[in-house]
Amino acid sequence: MVQHLIKSKFKVQSQLTKKLPMSANRAGKSLTKYKIVFLGEQGVGKTSLITRFMYDTFDDHYQATIGIDFLSKTMYLDDKTIRLQLWDTAGQERFRSLIPSYIRDSHVAIVVYDVTNKKSFEYIDKWVEDVKSERGEENVVLCIVGNKNDLSDERQVSTEEGERKAQVLNAKIFIETSTKVGFNVKNLFRKIAKTLPEFQKSDSVPLDDNATKNKPDVIDITTNEEQEQSSCQC
């Protein structure tokens, strides 16, 4: 429903823009913001996921997130600007009370678990419950992400289990990632982008367009699945 709302709002915008191209030029491009909130137990790799996506780096050293971190990524599409606002929550118990306030107005909720930690997997239900109580069933793009899939020896949660749970919880996206080796991270964000109204019109994500590569602040999420998979060492 939220997508529908955004979509219809967007349609109105574009119609108006067509009528007034002059002022639109001087007044910049239309900007649509999408809030994405990252949830999950302590140490499952939420911050790592964002860091990999934003800066393509990884740090083995664990530093717990304090409070809620914010990062934003801007994408330019023709005459539109899309800003992804990434809200990185802290898994530590003492910050739990802050989180619902951030889920409240998020369009996308990414619930992360650690495939080498059964407990973090079991807690997904609680997070999803939080999301649903804040956003309802339909108002949110729910993603389940099983991280640290490079640690195959320590795996405690199988991919099938993850998939099943995602199905049960009615998640739109399920994916296993490894932020350490950079596996599937871009894929995750591409999948998310595809759920946004701006990208739904065409079959492919418009960001695949090579022209956007040269523009500043554009996320290159063009790497295809095969390439990423080959870089996985497990």
Binding site: L31, T32, F70, N139
Partner: protein, 813 residues
């Protein structure tokens, strides 16, 4: 050629035209010789090109002539004059004299002689010879050449050499026509030459006058020069001076032109400044103005600063005007952006958008005029504040059709509500920071291109512009935010919730600062204020529990800790547990410091508990039993406090001077225990009838401190006391001892230990009491045995239990 008079063709007038050319002279009066007419009658000249002549193959002209002459002579049959003719000699000198003589002879004789031929011949010959004599070889060659020319041009002149030499009329006609042809040809060529010469002549004529003038002037000058020869030097000096002056003027001009180019705007630039759109062209001019200003400052440093002042004034006036234009442009830009945002939703620029770059450049230049720049900043702040405020307030609007639920819905849960408000402010801050960064961060600056003075002076200021704008934007919003938060915080009494609020505010304070708000910004200061409010409310909330509990009412007879205390401690523990988990335990500056703990615990022990006990046990001062109960209740309460605080001993109470608070509790507990032990021991001694003796003994030396048998001697003086009479002792002690000792243990159990919650303390108390009894009994008995060495048996009957038996009966081994 001689027959043409060139003078007749000369032009009289310089302006004479072609058609003015004079008519050629009339046919030249060339008449054939009168005499020859007759002579020629029946004489034909032998053909020069005769076959006979040629056949001889003679090349010499002389020979040819000779032959020709002889031929002619033969034709005339002048055989009578062979010697004369044979005397004919080509040698000029000889020929001449001879010829003249002969001719005279011939002429003299001619008229007389009838022989015409002779006369004619001689005439001709003489002419030829004469000609020959006059021109000799030159004439010959000339003649030959003439003939050659004639021959060559035979076609053109249309003559037939044969007819030409005919002596008859036809020949004469031919010759005449040849002559006329020749003449006309000549005329033609002469005309052509004249035509060519004509313009030259004309030019010469034209120039002749000026040349004449020059000549005259030259002559005059020369004359003068000759006269003024001495003045030349002075003239030359003047020339040099003038030349120098000229050079100086040229240099001056160059300098002035350069100054003009450097120090003034040209027309195009002036026009651009006033009329062109604010854009690259305009900024070029601005740049120049900035440079002018810079130059003007240098000029001001000159001894005469007038130039600098004037230039400065002019430049400033222009800059001021230009700045107003920039200001208007910026404000328009902002307005456009805002109205577009209102109509189409939020707007954004990519960092390389041309309008954005122009906008930023405009700001850069405007930043040199602080008042007007500040005015612009004010507008920005005002506009953005309004947007932020609207957005903030919209979150409380239940009616607005938003996808996310309004914050107001969570108003029942204070922490959640505050969390929602603050989280939304958080997102407003990051949004606004994004916006400010995109519009007011001068990172794409091509610094070489901008006058250094601008950047040097304003760089720091401009670098921090986006941050300071962010802070200022939240200035006017701060009040609304504060009100929303305060509404909740003011009316929250629960210390736990207040603590949560306190923690929440602290966390958001940290996060807001992390995302750009200055620690001294109003919003942060307000958060700190609110934090202080909620922190002070934690303690007041706690004490309020005690106040509300009405501790002096509803007193139960039980010696167990009161309900209110249990409740209070439960809250306190909950708080401490939260505090422990909050992770800020290590921080010495935290809310729950030793003062807080003192307030929360020490006051409880030193004020609340005594107050409570006072009202519960009003008779305590008078009645020992009541006092004992009071102590029991006190011990139970303090022990409860202590046990509840025990889990925090290693965490909260371990840091700083907080351990003193815990130790204080313990010492209170020990003090109460001690007094209870004292009281109980006393009452037990009383029940055993030993109290009088105990008092007496202790007055001399504390029984507890007795170490060995030697110490007993200190008590020997007691004998003087009448109560030390054996009979008195018997009546005081024996029955009581025998009655009470067997039930002593159960008596303690029932009256004392039963009421103590902590078995450990109970055990401690009983042990202490009993060992006191045991010790006294032992000392008492031994001292008696010492005092009455002869009456040991009597003593044994009075204190009929041995020390060991006594110990066994009271449960001590």
């Amino acid at each position: 050629m001689d027959f043409l008079d060139y003078q007749t063709f000369a032009l009289d007038e310089a302006n004479a035209k072609d058609y003015d050319l004079p008519e050629p002279a009339s046919r030249l009066p060339i008449k054939s010789q009168q005499s020859s007419k007759d002579l020629d009658k029946d004489f034909s000249m032998p053909r020069l090109a005769n076959a006979e002549l040629d056949a001889e193959g003679t090349e010499n002209l002389q020979d040819k002539m000779q032959k020709y002459a002889s031929l002619s002579l033969s034709a005339l049959s002048l055989k009578r004059l062979p010697p004369q003719s044979s005397m004919e000699n080509p040698v000029v000198s000889q020929g001449t004299s001879l010829g003249e003589k002969t001719l005279e002879q011939l002429v003299q004789n001619g008229e007389k002689t009838i022989d015409n031929t002779d006369a004619l011949l001689s005439k001709r010959l003489s002419r030829i010879l004469d000609a020959h004599h006059r021109n000799t070889l030159q004439c010959d060659t000339q003649l030959r050449r003439s003939f050659k020319v004639l021959e060559d041009n035979q076609d053109r002149l249309h003559f037939n050499s044969k007819t030409l030499v005919r002596p008859d009329f036809v020949g004469s006609l031919a010759r005449n026509s040849l002559r006329s042809n020749l003449e006309s040809e000549l005329l033609k060529s002469h005309l052509m030459i004249l035509d060519d010469i004509q313009p030259i002549v004309r030019r010469i004529k034209r120039l002749s006058e000026p040349v004449q003038n020059i000549h005259q002037m030259g002559d005059a000058l020369l004359k003068q020069g000759e006269m003024a020869h001495d003045e030349t030097k002075t003239y030359m000096d003047t020339v040099y001076i003038l030349q120098n002056a000229l050079l100086k003027h040229r240099l001056k001009k160059r300098i002035l032109v350069m100054l003009r180019d450097k120090l003034t705007l040209n027309q195009v630039e002036e026009d651009a400044l006033i009329n062109s759109n604010v854009g690259p062209e305009f900024f070029e001019v601005m740049k120049k103005l900035m440079r002018l200003k810079e130059t003007a400052t240098y000029l001001l440093a000159l001894p005469n600063p007038k130039a600098g002042t004037v230039l400065m004034e002019q430049t400033n006036a222009k800059i001021e005007k230009a700045n107003k234009r920039i200001f208007n442009y910026l404000v328009d830009f902002l307005y456009d952006l805002q109205s577009a945002s209102k109509t189409f939703g939020e707007r954004a620029f990519s960092s390389n958008d041309k309008p954005l770059i122009t906008f930023q450049q405009g700001m850069l230049y405007l930043s040199n005029d602080l008042p007007i720049f500040n005015e612009f900043i004010k507008r920005v702040v005002k506009a953005r504040s309004q947007i932020v405020l609207d957005d903030f307030l919209s979150q409380f609007d239940v009616s607005s059709a938003k996808a996310s639920r309004p914050i107001i819905i969570s108003a029942h849960d204070p922490v959640r509500y505050l969390g929602d408000v603050l989280a939304h402010v958080h997102s407003l801050i990051v949004d606004e920071a994004d916006f400010m960064d995109s519009m007011f961060k001068f990172q794409n600056w091509n610094i070489q291109d901008t006058p250094t003075s601008i950047l040097q002076e304003n760089r720091e200021f401009l670098n921090g512009l986006s941050i300071s704008l962010l802070n200022e934007t939240f200035g006017p919003v701060e009040n609304s935010i504060r009100i929303r938060l305060e509404q909740i915080i003011r009316f929250e009494d629960d210390p736990i919730i207040n603590f949560e609020i306190y923690e929440l505010l602290a966390l958001y304070q940290m996060m807001f600062i992390k995302y750009g708000l200055r620690p001294d910004s109003n919003l942060i200061l307000q958060l700190i204020n609110l934090r202080n409010t909620s922190s002070s409310k934690i303690l007041t909330g706690l004490t309020k529990i005690l106040d509300d509990a009405n501790i002096t009412q509803n007193l139960e007879k039980e010696l167990l800790p009161a309900e209110w205390l249990v409740k209070y401690l439960a809250k306190l523990c909950e708080l401490l547990t939260k505090f422990e988990k909050s992770g800020s335990v290590k921080d010495s500056e935290t809310l729950i410091d030793s003062n807080f703990l003192k307030e929360a615990l020490a006051c409880l022990i030193t004020e609340k508990l005594p107050e409570y006990h006072k009202s519960k046990f009003p008779q305590a001062r008078k009645e020992k039993e009541v006092k004992k109960h009071l102590l029991l209740s006190e011990i139970n309460c303090i022990d409860l406090i202590k046990t509840r605080m025990l889990p925090y001993r290693e965490t909260i109470f371990s840091k700083g001077d907080r351990h003193l608070v815990y130790e204080n509790i313990d010492s209170h507990l020990q003090a109460s225990t001690k007094s209870l032990i004292g009281l109980e021991t006393k009452s037990l001694l009383e029940k055993l009838g030993l109290d009088l003796y105990s008092n007496l003994f202790n007055m001399i030396f504390p029984v507890e401190s007795v170490q060995d048998e030697l110490d007993y001697d200190m008590y020997l003086p007691v004998l003087e006391n009448p109560i030390m009479q054996r009979d008195t002792i018997r009546s005081n002690v024996h029955i009581k001892l025998n009655d009470f000792l067997p039930i002593l243990l159960s008596d303690i159990q029932d009256n004392l230990l039963f009421h103590i919650v902590s078995p450990k303390i109970a055990d401690h108390i009983s042990t202490e009491c009993l060992s006191c009894l045991s010790k006294f009994y032992k000392v008492f008995r031994q001292v008696l045995l010492k005092l009455y060495p002869e009456n040991h048996e009597d003593i044994d009957t009075i204190l009929n239990f041995s020390e060991e038996e006594f110990d066994t009966l009271i449960g001590l081994n």
